[in-house]
Amino acid sequence: MRLRRLPATAFLAFAIAAGCQGAEAAPAPPIPPGAVHVMADGMAFTTTEVRAPAGRPFTLAFENREGPPHNVHLHDAAGTTVFQGEVLSGPALRLAEVPALAPATYGFICDVHPDMTGHLLATEEGS
């Protein structure tokens, strides 16, 4: 009797998971010109080397092209967080304002999957 309820139980569990992901979905905004575009797909950042303007805030367009949730967590060479984007279940695109950065190379990771990494080069010339 209990075993017969298993398919329904499994279905409910998947419905919860899908419902929670669906709640985070939002219509994709257009990417403004000059935005730094970072993409995630296949459990990796597909843009692992990006350039950004130093000394002034800029827009980061993070595009998650797959179902599993990802984010962009930007840190300096010492490991100090300079920007932490929200975790986004995909497929979805989210724009975020990153505060002005000093000219340097910064690393970025996904907090959910820390083996996903990339680099952002902040230069005076910009992106």
């Binding site: 209990r2 409910l12 569990a13 599993p68 949730p69 929200e86 975790v87 820390p114």
Partner: protein
């Protein structure tokens, strides 16, 4: 409440089951449901670690209800393993995990799972001290068997 009233309450039945029997079924169903729910959530996160976690929860959930005599004898161990698995998952998240909506939902489910398992542990296994004693006995038994087998190997 007097002893006679307690006795009366214990004989209350739900659809033909005694109250402890019905409670036991509800708890077991809750354990399986919660374990499969957190397995489903982990499966959506991608990456081998989350998939391994989902597989672990699924295997333990099935082991909680599989009508296999051997598993029935060691249900107390499966229950203890599931508590340990959930606690390690929660602590791992507290130490290294990302903070986002689905993660918080999952942690609530896992905490509920641990609470229900502890209730089951009291109902079926006589509490954590008894489970610890049985685990030590089991470990000692396995140790004795291993020593006996290695002794035979040396004798040959």
């Amino acid at each position: 409440m007097g002893l006679s009233q307690v006795s009366h309450v214990s004989q209350v039945s739900i659809k033909g089951r005694s109250l402890p029997g019905a409670l036991s079924a509800i708890l077991r169903l809750s354990v399986v449901w919660l374990a499969l729910a957190t397995a489903a959530i982990h499966a959506t996160l991608g990456g081998w670690m989350f998939l391994a976690n989902a597989a672990g929860y699924t295997v333990l959930a099935v082991a909680m209800i599989a009508p296999i005599a051997f598993l029935g004898r060691f249900r107390w161990l499966v229950r203890a393993a599931l508590i340990g698995f959930a606690v390690v998952t929660i602590v791992g998240w507290l130490m290294f995990g990302a903070r986002f909506q689905l993660a918080y939902v999952d942690k609530v489910i896992e905490l509920m799972l641990v609470a229900v398992l502890i209730a089951e542990l009291h109902l079926h296994d006589g509490g954590p001290a008894n489970v610890l004693r049985r685990s030590i006995d089991l470990g000692a038994g396995i140790g004795r068997t291993a020593l006996s087998l290695s002794g035979r190997g040396v004798a040959r």
